[in-house]
Every structure is written in structure tokens, then in C-alpha cells.
Symmetry: C2
DNA sequence: TAATTAATTAACCATATAGTTAAATATAGT
DNA sequence: ACTATATTTAACTATATGGTTAATTAATTA
């Protein structure tokens, strides 16, 4: 899969989004990450692998502990992709924007 | 699925993202949307259904033509979710932010 | 060395996904 | 009425997903 699809796919799961939020304030071990969730450790382990593949986290082993840390670059890319649509809500005339663009189509790469 | 998961899931496919981009300048019929793609009409039809379920587009039928139009609200919600992480790249000290947050954990709801 | 802890891998299950072709539906035109 | 066009639904295939439990690997502690 292309990187952006990997990123959005990784974000399309509430457990993974909750994990990501839980990493906002610093790195945590896989075990600590798993604690709040009702699912098994292997399930968490696979969520972490999906997130690592998507570039959402880095993993670092220290002894038996595997520390996970939020990684920003792919989140940034996904955000930037979405912000291409910001014109549709940033003005108070979002609906009007769409109507105007329909009636006066412009091209933009 | 919860709405945010639906939205990210709908975005996690390059065909659907291309469709979304193609709607940036106004509504298009399902047939016109399908033209640039090498896949079958039923495949496009299902992509459009996924996008409608996710709230990324509205559909309106006029005779035999089904017009699809970009819809902003869910895109806005997804963008806002992602922007909760903007602190990790907005300063030129993104990396430092993470290090500091690791060493001085704060809570935020 | 034996036992404990942290995490992953393996094997399995049920469901979902993305595509196909063929058939069905619905509107429009002759 | 007949035909053509636009789109969806049905039936099918192959692969991916998200969960489980049991077994495995690796590091720590007694």
C-alpha cells in the first residue's frame, strides 16, 4: 500500500486512535499501552505493528521493554492532504464555495 | 463503525482519494467519475457508496444521472482530529517537543 | 539453572474488502 | 413498444482484518 493509504488505514480504528492519543505525552511500553484496553496482548501487539508500518510510531527496545513513541511526519502528511479541502469549511460560506465551484469550474493540479 | 473510523477508512484507498479530488471543483455524475479509472462501474459504485456512508459525498439523482458532490463536514472532523497532533510538527523543535513531553508528562483530557 | 515477565509468532475463526462478470432496475429516446 | 444508457444488485473469488488461545523468544530475577 502507498504510505498515505497506510496512514489513513492505521487511523481508521478506534483502538489505534486511542493508542495514539495515549502517546501524546511521551513514550510508553507496549504493556502500559495495552493496560486500558480489554483486548489481548497479541491484539495490541499487532495494532502497534500496523502503526509502525504506517509510520505513526517508532519502537525502541530496552531490555524486555519495548517503548513506543509518537512519530509526527506521516500524521503531518495526512493532515496536509486533508487541508487541501479546507476551503470547503474555512469561510462562513462553505456551501456557497461549493456552489460557485460547481458553476465556474477551475482546474488545480 | 463510528463516524471517524468510517471517514478514515474511506480515505484509506487511493481510488477514493482520487475521486474526492476529482470532486473538488463541483459535482459530477457517477459515470464521469468512473471514466479516468480502469476498474468496472460496479466497483466505482461501491466506492461511492462507501464514501456516502462516510459522509464524504452527497448523492442526488436527476433522471438516470446520479450526481455526487463533495461534502465537507466529515473531512473537517477528520482534519480537526489530526490537528490535535500539530504541536509535534508546527514548531521547528518538533523533536524537542516530544523529548520534553516524555520527561515532563502532562495530562490533557 | 529455574521461574517470571514482556512481547511476539503461530494457528485459527469470522467478517470485511476490492475486484470481477452477469443480471436487474430505471430513465430516456426512437 | 423497443432500444440504449446509467447505475445498482447479485453472486462469486481472493485477500485482509481483528480478534482469540497456545506456544515461543528473550530478558530479568531468584
Amino acid at each position: 500500500m502507498d504510505p498515505l493509504s497506510d496512514t489513513f488505514h492505521a487511523l481508521a480504528d478506534p483502538t489505534r486512535r486511542a493508542i495514539l492519543l495515549s502517546l501524546k505525552h511521551g513514550e510508553k511500553s507496549a504493556g502500559d499501552i495495552a493496560k486500558p484496553f480489554a483486548i489481548s496482548a497479541p491484539a495490541i501487539s499487532r495494532h502497534l505493528k500496523v502503526m509502525e508500518k504506517a509510520g505513526l510510531i517508532d519502537r525502541r527496545r530496552d531490555g524486555q521493554i519495548l517503548y513506543c513513541q509518537l512519530r509526527a511526519d506521516r500524521l503531518k502528511e495526512a493532515t496536509e492532504w486533508l487541508e487541501r479541502y479546507a476551503q470547503f469549511w474555512q469561510s462562513s460560506f462553505g456551501r456557497l464555495d461549493r456552489i460557485l465551484s460547481t458553476e465556474h469550474p477551475r482546474t488545480d493540479k
